[in-house]
């Protein structure tokens, strides 16, 4: 896969200048409910961080805090050197669990949506989205509506939409949770390749330990509510990884054991 020339605007700031994302002592509660209590987390530039944890541990809240869709009640969130919510939003591209495709737009229009929201003209945005369809295996589906696409294809369109504005940090919120097991495995390999060709700082939230270990450079394990990081596991294998080798790899098996231990 070649680089996406369509997105030259912002590359991850070069390594050595400190982390791309830094959370320090972050607290967030909803009414009497404490979602996050004293969360510390760094994500290096160009690093893929997997975040796993039990349901309701504040994983999605964590993403929205990084992405500037919420503000912390305490602590600091710094993304690419900025702290304001609006500035954080401008540095991050967010991809929700459900694809969020608009049913009245064709695939090309959906892929171009985020660009249009940034003020790029409709025709220009579509022209920039077009080359990605070939690259991501969706050639000839540019003019299909979301309802005519399979779940995996829809997630790929959603990923293109996330990628196109060229923002340095990608926030992926359980991107494959809604897919069946076979499609999910395909999409994980696909994402691994896409991220190898298109290096970005990534925070990948998932409830699937296997998925996190397969895709990430490092996996943060969160505790049940109130959420905090209870373990951080480095995955010392180069990306993209081979799925069949990953199943039997002794290093990954050991990491899986430790992650499940930490989740208990």
């Amino acid at each position: 896969m070649a680089m996406v020339e369509a997105a030259p605007a912002m590359e991850p700031s070069s390594s050595g200048e400190g982390p791309s994302v830094r959370l320090q002592g972050v607290e967030r509660s909803f009414g009497a409910l404490t979602a996050l209590a004293g969360l510390d987390l760094d994500v290096g530039s160009g690093e893929v961080l997997g975040v796993v944890g039990p349901s309701g541990c504040g994983k999605s809240t964590l993403l929205e805090l990084v992405g500037g869709l919420q503000d912390p009640a305490g602590g600091t969130v710094v993304v690419e050197g900025v702290t304001g919510a609006r500035e954080r939003r401008a540095a991050c591209a967010y991809m929700p669990q459900r694809d969020g495709l608009l049913p009245w737009r064709d695939a090309l229009g959906n892929a171009a949506l985020a660009l249009e929201c940034q003020g790029v003209g409709r025709a220009k945005a579509r022209a920039r989205a077009l080359p990605l369809f070939e690259r991501f295996g969706l050639a000839d589906f540019e003019h299909s509506r979301p309802a005519q696409l399979s779940g995996g294809m829809r997630q790929r369109v959603a990923f293109m939409r996330t990628l196109l504005p060229g923002r340095p940090v990608l926030l992926l919120d359980e991107p494959f949770a809604a897919l069946d097991a076979i499609t999910r495995a395909e999409m994980q390999s696909w994402l691994a390749d896409a991220l190898a060709a298109e290096p970005r700082t990534v925070v990948l939230v998932t409830h699937d330990v296997e998925e996190a270990l397969f895709l990430a450079d490092r996996v943060a394990v969160m505790s049940a509510r109130p959420g905090r990081v209870v373990a951080e596991l480095d995955v010392p294998l180069p990306r993209p990884r081979d799925r069949r080798a990953a199943v039997t790899d002794p290093v990954l098996a050991e990491l899986r054991r430790r992650a499940l231990e930490a989740l208990r």
Partner: protein, 251 residues
């Protein structure tokens, strides 16, 4: 195909029962015209009925157009301004609770005998379903989608244009279908309160002059008009919102 066959059978059944009841000796011809008499009246008075039908159709379409513009604009304003929504919603409901039959003569006093009172009544009746449905459509947008638009850095206007307005389109057409069916009733009320032309006025006059078959012919035409408008609104929805009708892919 089966559905339209069933609908046809029901219609035939209805006409058969109508003919049967009309054939009873105890039913006066002046109270109930038979289907045959109605058909005859339709043919015999064709040009008179059509001339008056055009007048009524014109009132209905113009009144509907006014209610679409006003209703959609009002719904949009209520959607964009929370205080306006809270303040205006009770008024909106009240506008529908007003007994139109009583209001019609007052409108005639206010607007004179011309087309004004008819338009006002049609628009008033149709305003409610359109406003309520458009507002519901605008407000039913998935909060996740709104969050996504915010993460893209979309402006309020962009979110409205790219997300909320298209999402509200099917609801608008639901409202329009309801409005289309009641619009004809509105025009008839308007004509009853005072008019010199129109199908509603003709039916009222025929009733008074005991020209029962022609009154029935007028009623049939009014009903056909409402049904046709309903069908047209449905057709417009299929053309404007094709995504609501594409079959899902199964794989």
């Amino acid at each position: 195909m089966r559905r339209s066959a069933l609908a046809g059978a029901l219609l035939v059944g209805f006409v058969a029962v109508w003919a049967w009841v009309a054939s009873w000796g105890s039913v006066d011809d002046l109270t109930l015209a038979s289907p045959g008499q109605t058909w005859h009246a339709l043919r015999a008075n064709r040009s008179l009925l059509l001339d008056n039908a055009w007048v009524t159709l014109y009132e209905v379409l113009l009144g509907l157009a006014i209610s679409i513009v006003a209703g959609a604009a009002f719904a949009l304003a209520m959607h964009l301004s929370r205080p306006l929504r809270d303040a205006a919603y009770p008024l909106l409901v009240a506008s529908q609770a007003v007994p139109i039959v009583v209001l019609a003569p007052i409108f005639v006093l206010a607007f004179d005998y011309g087309i004004g009172p008819k338009l006002a009544i049609v628009a008033l009746i149709c305003f409610f379903p359109i406003t309520v449905n458009v507002l519901d459509g605008l407000r039913s947008v998935d909060p996740e989608q709104l969050k996504l638009m915010r993460s893209f850095g979309a402006s309020r206007l962009r979110t409205l244009r790219s997300l909320e307005l298209p999402a509200a389109l099917p609801s608008f057409f639901s409202g329009l279908r309801v409005a289309a069916t009641v619009s004809v009733i509105g025009a008839v009320f308007g004509e009853w309160a005072g008019a010199d032309r129109g199908l509603g006025r003709l039916v009222l006059m025929d009733n008074n002059q005991l020209a029962t078959p022609r009154a029935y012919a007028g009623i049939v035409l009014l009903t056909l008009m409402a049904v046709a408008l309903f069908a047209l609104a449905g057709l417009a929805e299929r053309i404007a919102c094709p995504w609501n009708h594409t079959p899902e892919r199964t794989t």
